[in-house]
Symmetry: C2
Subunit: 344 residues, 2 copies
């Protein structure tokens, strides 16, 4: 019904129900409703309904200094890694009556700062950050404002900040285990940038998994890519094959790097998986459509988002103060890019 012109305020409702505005506020708020006489409440609710009253959250926020909004920082929404995470976050926050404000930082400290600033002045109640690096200074500022913060997909070992991510080491172990099981012994690693926690942890995971598989890892079997891109992956893979042409399997720290490996192999006239097996990480969409379909480590992205939101909500409701780092379990999705080595 309704759809009136001028916005109807709590005062209008009060007038209609012949009570004081304060009473309306109490009657309409589920957790103060107990304070008001049931039939009065009934009358108020009915009046609010009839007039089409919509509480003004801005005004409420001003008084309560809680905006029920949380800021989400990501590098770039265009990166297919993030949408599922965002979806997980939003779904959870929505259930709890919160809204998320998403911003793209492009990993640019300048943008980060200005966005943080802007969100701060919008009185967000908390932050979830999935950016690669967060300025130390900014972090301190956040802490001083005592605005809760949860990190996603990376950890910040020294500062005590709760974080949720996939268990990178375990993921790599799955990948390495898989190719070892197929019979590979000369296994290389196209590692990600070591200044990003994911890149670093996956590298460590690789060493660890190889060791526990009883295989030596000479330095030449690892090449570090400067960024998580196809180009860098191709370059790193080429370097790798230059110094260690007898590799029969390559575990990449990321799907894009793995795709880059495809290019490098092709440029060299090698075939996947016949000559070299490749494993990726993240299990991006449409990997099954590649040629060959890429075997990859799947990370439960949506779940990561949900857990991050849960963690934040917990803090907001004054729950446990304990700083937790939660690692979620990855799984291996075997496709056509891995096969037993041809020449044993």
């Amino acid at each position: 019904m309704s759809g009136g012109r001028a916005p109807v305020t709590i005062r209008d409702v009060a007038r209609a129900a012949k009570v004081h505005p304060g009473t309306v506020s109490r009657a309409l708020n589920t957790d103060t409703r107990a304070l008001v006489n049931p039939e009065t409440a009934e009358r108020v609710i009915e009046a609010a309904e009839r007039l089409g009253y919509r509480p003004n959250r801005i005004a409420r926020g001003l008084k309560t200094s809680r905006s029920h909004t949380i800021g989400v920082l990501i590098p770039d929404i265009t990166n297919p890694l993030f949408p599922p995470i965002l979806r997980g976050i939003e779904d959870r926050l929505e259930d709890a009556g919160y809204t998320s404000l998403i911003v793209n930082t492009d990993n640019d400290p300048e943008r980060e700062r200005s966005h943080l600033e802007a969100m701060g002045s919008r009185q967000v109640d908390g932050f979830i950050s999935a950016t690669a690096r967060l300025d130390r200074e900014l972090l301190a500022e956040l802490a001083s404002r005592s605005t809760p913060l949860v990190l996603v997909n990376r950890s910040f070992e020294d500062a005590r900040v709760p974080a949720v991510a996939v268990d990178d080491r375990r993921g790599i172990r799955l990948a390495v285990g898989h190719v070892i099981e197929l019979g590979h012994e000369r296994i290389g690693h196209v590692a990600g940038p070591q200044n990003l926690s994911t890149g670093h942890r996956r590298y460590l995971g690789f060493l660890e998994a190889m060791r526990s598989g009883g295989i030596e890892v000479p330095d030449e079997h690892v090449c570090f890519a400067a960024a998580f891109t196809e180009e860098e992956g191709a370059a790193a893979c080429t370097d790798l094959l230059d110094v260690a042409p007898d590799l029969t399997a390559i575990v990449a720290a990321n799907d894009l790097l793995a795709i880059g490996c495809y290019d490098a192999l092709e440029a060299r006239g090698l075939r996947c998986p016949d000559d070299v097996s490749i494993v990726g990480f993240n299990d991006m969409p449409f990997l099954d459509r590649l040629r060959p379909p890429l075997t990859s480590v799947r990370v439960p992205q949506r779940e990561i988002g949900k857990v991050a939101a849960d963690l934040l909500l917990e803090r907001l409701s004054g729950g446990s103060e304990a700083v937790r780092e939660i690692l979620l379990e990855p799984t291996l999705v075997v496709r056509g890019s891995t096969a037993p080595p041809r020449r044993l």
Copy 2:
């Protein structure tokens, strides 16, 4: 510097600069600054800086009843079609000092309503909607609140709402023109759902392009998919080949449908492009990695987002009242899925 505990308000600044809060407000606001003595302004600004003053937008919003926030409705952020659009929107809005509130509706009227409600009570200044269909009733409610609305990727022919989208008909014409030029004559169309404006317009575009190419289109050369999914694309393509096995090219209304066609061809033992050429629409990421790389119509998604934001900003600043529908130019990206017909 600073990083103090209690939030510093305009009153603190006033005290520090020994002026009245009202003066501080005027001095800090660029378009009222002219009203205050330059050196007073200077002193105020300096004090604000020193204290680390951050204006409280909530309070400001309450007074001015403008939140500088705009609501963006999309079906699902996980659909690769949307992130670039969102990015375009955000970038533009950010420049103008606005923030966007993104919500996923899953094309569910129920969710749409509740989100609209929530955003309304957050006092958003305007909406951009990329959802497939917007409830007639909801639309009316928006209009009554006189909150500006801009549609993306679909138009709403009867209601007078500004919209921005790609020129679907022209895009299909590019696709059809391409295969005709290659020498194809028996060309089929896997059409999208006809209750979605994109699906419908692309279908019309197909008929038109064929006609202008001088080619008859018997009914059997078109099959309608029930949804924009790979499965439906495969099913439609199979039907198409059942009744018209002599087709040498298929123009799909969407990349996912095109990928479905790949599956259908493979199931039939046909090869692309040797036996049948395929063209997609949207130019999703990683299409160049498919087997074969998919020829597709590229739509300037980011640009669409930017233009939509511009349109909305224009309304917000009380600009032209004219309802405009803006169509952006698509381009054709030729890859490996199209080739001259083998058997002429």
